[in-house]
């Protein structure tokens, strides 16, 4: 019986028993594996780092998608950058008021592999008629396109790796230009206890581009090391100041079913621990 040890950190890490190796690809300077583990179901790892598992992906994807979509309230056009496994797309597709979804993924191979080995992630969403799938580098797409969106979501890998350019100033600036009035950008920003610099760097870039920005959090078991954070950037400060009642009303109206997301969690997720506030240069959670 084999084991998979994550190679993210030198002195700490998680290990999985590999009950069955389902897929392995070491071509193109990257190493992609999918295996089955008794506790987490099918697990996908890229370059030694866990990307997603069947058992806990709902936490990540619901928070990545529903927080910005419900906060926006009337998003019709949604852009997803990355997210080749299809789960962010699946969650976006749950929102009936969305009439156009553009998903930009750099590697069509990842989509094929995930549709085959992680079918529950996309759950048929790749066949949604509202979807326009673009196989292209995310940074190139947002810098060249004229299209504008209500919500932009980046579902990227770690900044050390193929997702690097999706954490840069140029990308955040280009996204800003692609947002419709009242639009919002939500990003994957890592596990802040272990990778504080990642959130701090994003904060520095957001600060110079967006009127209102912050982070919100969720604890995803296989992104080890405590809470992970999502970046939040918009020119409309009201989006993250909705009341619990308003969020609850929108949630009910949307009719979506969730397993992690609740209106209370939505609000509470923006309350950040003191060490993170210090790292992103904010004095408090509320007004600033």
């Amino acid at each position: 019986m084999n084991r998979f040890a994550e190679t993210l950190y030198d002195s700490y890490g998680q290990e999985f028993r590999v009950d069955e190796l389902l897929y392995e690809d070491k071509t193109d300077h990257q190493h992609l594996v999918i295996f089955h583990n008794a506790a987490f179901g099918r697990v996908m790892a890229l370059d030694g780092v866990i990307q997603t598992t069947e058992k806990d992906e709902f936490i990540y994807h619901e928070m990545l998608v529903h927080v910005p979509l419900i906060a926006h309230g009337g998003a019709g056009r949604v852009l997803i950058i990355g997210g080749g496994d299809g789960a962010a797309l699946r969650e976006v597709a749950k929102h009936r008021q969305v009439d156009e979804i553009v998903m930009v993924e750099i590697d069509s191979g990842v989509i094929d592999v995930c549709r085959k080995y992680l079918p529950g992630h996309s759950a048929g969403a790749f066949d949604d008629p509202r979807l326009e799938l673009v196989i292209e580098d995310g940074l190139e797409y947002v810098t060249r396109t004229d299209a504008k969106f209500d919500v932009i979501i980046t579902d990227s890998t770690d900044p050390i790796g193929p997702g690097e350019s999706l954490f840069g100033e140029r990308f955040y600036r280009a996204c800003h230009g692609r947002l419709l009035p009242g639009g919002v950008l939500a990003t994957q920003n890592g596990v802040c206890f272990m990778q504080l610099e990642e959130a701090a760097a994003t904060a520095r870039r957001f600060r110079s581009i967006y009127t209102d920005w912050h982070f919100y959090s969720a604890a995803v078991p296989t992104y080890v090391g405590g809470i992970m954070v999502f970046g939040w950037a918009s020119d409309d400060p009201q989006l993250r100041r909705l009341t619990r009642a308003e969020i609850g009303r929108r949630y009910l109206q949307s009719g979506i079913e969730t397993r992690y997301y609740t209106p209370e969690i939505h609000r509470a997720a923006f309350a950040l621990p003191r060490y993170l506030l210090e790292a992103i240069g904010k004095a408090c959670n509320a007004a600033c």
Binding site: Y9, G48, I160, Q195, E197
Partner: protein, 399 residues
């Protein structure tokens, strides 16, 4: 004067066959010998984890053979890392030891899954601030040795007296120095400098510990384990015995690692080159071979090695000769002033102990293609014990 062994031609069929099959120049690498060397060093350094310095002979099959025995791998560049990736080496058993790296080298190593790096100065330490939660650093100390054929402490390494300061700075930055490393030089004649270095490191590790800093738990004693070229070297157990004794003084929480290159692969390599030209100039035979200083014999320049050479000849008579490489450069001479049996075009010249730092540093000068590398699994049994050269009274050919 360099001696060239003469082997009876009857014993040369095996090599002639290999030369015919693979062509020359060719580097034959015996994987059984690599296994033997690895196990010998493992036995001579009990409890020490060995990381093969792949720069010595960066070859996929060599890496696979050593991985099969449980070796780890020492890398110094992103190119070496790529080679390990191709051979599917577990990144957990790799260490990146180049003291100077670009940000993108660090990122590529992290992306591969290698999280151990080496620094020896402040600038290099600062490069790790963004990655401090991911990595473990070793601080490389310098110990100059006159005893080593190749000095590896001139260009790199922090003087031991500066180490505490750098360790304190790292702690202030929140970067953990998990251990110390040194590389006293390659092809060391004595273990004295290793012993001295271990003693100094032991002191620093204990002092740091006493100061209440995060404990250092790793000591990497580098390479330097010698093999016999033109002169005898002590057996590996003899060489390592005093090192092993000194390592026993380390605190129990310290793990020891080594980065052997030469010792593991040099004895496994045998070069075959062919005589492609012959001239009589100024009282000597000049033999032009199909590879030389710019190729397989580059170690004579870069690694200061003098490889034991052999030819296949039954005649007892010897003449002054020169073995020269194929390029147009006049420094491309492998051996001058040697006494040789008369050779003929097509004859084979054999070089022993040529696994390490030979093909690895070959250039493409004159657009000559590099020698082929052929991995064998053991020599044919009747050829393993080649007769030692019979010393023939050499008589110069009358002019």
């Amino acid at each position: 004067m360099r001696r060239v062994e003469a082997i009876h031609p009857g014993r040369g069929n095996y090599f002639r066959d290999l030369a015919r099959i693979h062509g020359t120049p060719v580097l034959l690498v015996d994987s059984q010998k690599i296994r033997h060397q690895y196990l010998a060093l493992k036995a001579a350094l009990p409890g020490v984890k060995l990381y093969y310095a792949i720069k010595a002979l960066p070859h996929r099959q060599v890496i696979s053979v050593l991985a099969g025995l449980g070796a780890g791998f020492e890398i110094a560049s992103s190119g070496e890392l790529e080679l390990l990736r191709q051979v599917r080496i577990n990144p957990r058993s790799t260490i990146h030891t180049h003291p100077i790296k670009r940000d993108r080298d660090i990122r590529q190593a992290l992306r591969f899954g290698c999280t151990t790096f080496v620094i020896d100065n402040t600038e290099e330490l600062l490069k790790f601030i963004p990655y401090k939660h991911r990595i473990g650093l070793m601080l490389r100390l310098s110990f100059r040795s006159d005893d080593a054929v190749v000095d590896l402490s001139r260009k790199f390494g922090c003087p031991p007296e500066d180490a505490p300061e750098l360790i304190r700075l790292a702690a202030r930055l929140g970067i953990h120095i998990k251990g110390l490393s040194f590389h006293v030089g390659s092809q060391c004649r004595t273990p004295d400098m290793h012993v001295h270095a271990v003693n100094v490191c032991n002191q620093i590790i204990r002092q740091t510990h006493d100061l209440g800093a995060a404990p250092m738990s790793l000591l990497d004693i580098g390479g330097g384990f010698p093999v016999g070229y033109d002169r005898q070297v002590p057996s590996i157990e003899t060489f390592t015995a005093p090192i092993t004794q000194t390592l026993k003084q380390l605190p129990l929480h310290v793990t020891v690692a080594a980065e052997p290159g030469r010792f593991l692969v040099a004895p496994a390599g045998t070069a075959l080159v062919s005589v492609i030209g012959k001239a009589w100039r100024e009282g000597r035979f000049w033999y032009y071979l199909d590879d030389g200083i710019y190729g397989l014999f580059s170690g004579q320049v870069f690694d200061h090695a003098r490889y034991p050479l052999a030819v296949f000849s039954a005649t007892g008579r010897r003449y002054p000769g020169v073995l020269a490489g194929p390029t147009c450069d006049s420094i491309d001479v492998i051996a001058e002033n040697v006494m040789l049996p008369e050779l003929h075009i097509g004859d084979i010249v054999l070089g022993r102990q040529m696994g390490a730092y030979t093909i690895a540093s070959a250039t493409g000068f004159n657009s000559l293609p590099p020698a082929k590398v052929v991995i064998l699994d053991g020599w044919r049994p009747d050829e393993t014990r080649l007769a030692p050269a019979r010393t023939m009274p050499a008589k110069p050919r009358p002019a």
